[in-house]
Symmetry: C2
Subunit: 276 residues, 2 copies
């Protein structure tokens, strides 16, 4: 019965236990890989495998050339993404369009967090598979000029720390009617309200979820190294009063520090209220 579980898994479990029972506290640096290798009497590569396991579990983050650190479980931020009654704006946090621009800010405020966004990065790009499918853009031959979309990207921070990346896509034609979409400034009234003024009222949406490994850009933004925890991808297609899809929003969250939730039906008020 000696070695049924690999050594590196045992080591990861032991380090995890030290984190769980508080011998290693959030923010602490783990011993160097060399030290761990000596302490356990294994090679450094085995330690690297163990630290890898911890990273994927989300309790440890590694900063190359500096060390591995126990993750700070900063007060979790609850992002409520939907509402039963689309028109009901009377209760805190309730209303339409959860998780987006202004709703995100007000939800942060309610939870005593400081949220801010980067200035939007605006670009006109070729539509990708996802954009064409979601926005109902017909496919064209590969040698023809590709259809274009407007992309508005923002980095979102909570308490000064990177929280999520959001990219919204619109058909280029829409930007002719709603020219502020092309402006690299925040839309003060909120993009939902602005687009409503331009004739596209958001009356419904479809949300999809997936998990995938972070891209290089996301690793950099979140300050993570490779082999980190997967990110959660939230894809929202918004429909206007004519049943036409007019916006595609892709939001990428770092897991662990966010709780992503939906609420349906009647739930006690304290469920809405609680920030955790």
């Amino acid at each position: 019965m000696a070695r049924r579980t690999p050594r590196y898994v045992e080591i990861a479990a032991d380090l995890q236990a030290r984190i769980d029972d508080g011998r290693l506290e959030p923010g602490d640096r783990l011993p160097t890989e060399k030290e761990l290798a000596q302490r356990w009497g294994v090679s450094e590569n085995t330690i690297k495998a163990a630290v890898n396991e911890l990273r994927r579990g989300g309790r440890v983050e590694t900063v190359p050339q500096k060390g591995s650190f126990v993750t700070e479980p900063d007060m979790p931020f609850v992002i409520t993404l939907n509402y039963t009654d689309l028109g009901d704006e009377n209760a805190p946090g309730r209303g339409f369009g959860g998780g987006e621009g202004k709703a995100f800010l007000s939800e942060a405020d309610r939870q005593r967090h400081q949220a801010h966004f980067s200035k939007p990065d605006v670009a006109v790009e070729d539509a990708g598979e996802l954009q064409m499918k979601a926005l109902g853009i017909p496919r064209v031959p590969a040698d023809a000029p590709q259809p274009q979309v407007v992309r508005r990207s923002q980095q979102r921070f909570v308490d000064g720390k990177p929280n999520s990346l959001q990219h919204s896509y619109f058909k280029l034609e829409l930007a002719f009617k709603a020219q502020d979409l092309l402006n690299s400034r925040d839309i003060a009234e909120g993009s939902v309200a602005y687009l409503q003024r331009c004739g596209h009222e958001q009356v419904g949406y479809e949300d999809e979820f997936d998990a995938r490994p972070p891209t290089e850009e996301e690793l950099k933004f979140f300050g993570l190294s490779k082999n980190s925890l997967a990110v959660i991808e939230h894809i929202r297609t918004a429909f206007d009063q004519n049943g036409e899809p007019f916006r595609l929003t892709v939001t990428v969250y770092k897991p662990g520090t966010n709780k992503i939730r939906f609420i349906a039906g009647d739930v006690p008020d304290e469920v809405w209220e609680r920030g955790s």
Copy 2:
């Protein structure tokens, strides 16, 4: 400027390209690691790192002692987890309690998939952190007898292939009133209907999402090896007409083959209908 991107990332990208453009088709086996090492003139460990990357990206699955295979993107199964109008059962797939027992089966049927569940695995266990918090069970000192919960677990298959694992938890007291919960058989009328007869009508729920690495049990169920794509965890707390939480359901999905979605407001009927 030689080695800015690591060798194993290049190799992974090259293999990925072969998958994307069809030179490697779903179901194909990759060359053995030894062969890949020779072809690229690198050590086998470097190849292992590259295959690791592909696994985490979800396009390759490795079966130990057999080989690595390009993932079959079997017709994606769309799981609709919520409904705007809680009482509206008239449209296909619409109604209350998406993603659960009978709703899952009927949604599969609508999408021309064959779904079936394993016989429930029923157990009475100590309540964990999650169970106590969700079901509102007061914490007791560590040396006192721990509060108990009933767990009902099912493996869910679509087209004969493992799709998801679902665990439902109830307070033990509830099982005294609703004794079928303790019976290791399917509840024919559906557990939502059964519990309603027992005095707990499901009038609302809160859903949360997270991503995490799969446990050993989940790896085994899904037939995956280590360093695979993260699983998606869906946690639903159901509330009865008194605003009391009475059920906690944890569902674990393998990403890629499932699309997990919510719908709110008015969306075109074809959004509801489409199976992909």
